[in-house]
Symmetry: C2
């Protein structure tokens, strides 16, 4: 069993008005030291496969086909083996 931690974020060139709104809200709450906010999606995916390579290839396919919009978003992931239960 492997656990993949996946982060999907906008490409740096994509304008992110929601992140700007969050930053403005922080400033209204007097958190003036916040200089930048980026936001994204986070997934924890458990896979019943036997090797890390298999988990990684599945996660890349899942991100390409389902979780990330390749026009606007990038993804990165880490895979780690879960201790047998």
């Amino acid at each position: 069993m492997f656990l993949a931690q996946v982060h999907v974020t906008y490409k740096p060139s994509i304008l992110d008005p929601q992140a700007v709104a969050i930053k403005n809200a922080m400033h209204r709450l007097a958190f003036d030291q916040v200089t930048a906010v980026r936001q994204g999606k986070y997934f924890e995916i458990t896979l019943d496969v036997s090797t890390a390579e298999e988990a990684e290839s599945q996660i890349e396919a899942i991100c390409d086909q389902l979780l990330a919009n390749p026009n606007m978003e990038t993804y990165r992931y880490e895979v780690k083996e879960l201790a047998n239960q």
Copy 2:
């Protein structure tokens, strides 16, 4: 300057129908080895403060007041110093 990476996820006791829908979509795409999906929000927050302790206390206050709903969500974060530019 410090960068905080913040993850906001549902508490384990909270039902997450969106994550169930994502898992079902993965199974429809023949990713049958996926056994569990959890999803959440991810934020990268840049802070213009001078110590890691200050960054951590600001991030905890921001999460408590703005980013996480304490009834349903938990958060965790890591703070790291950014190289001077």
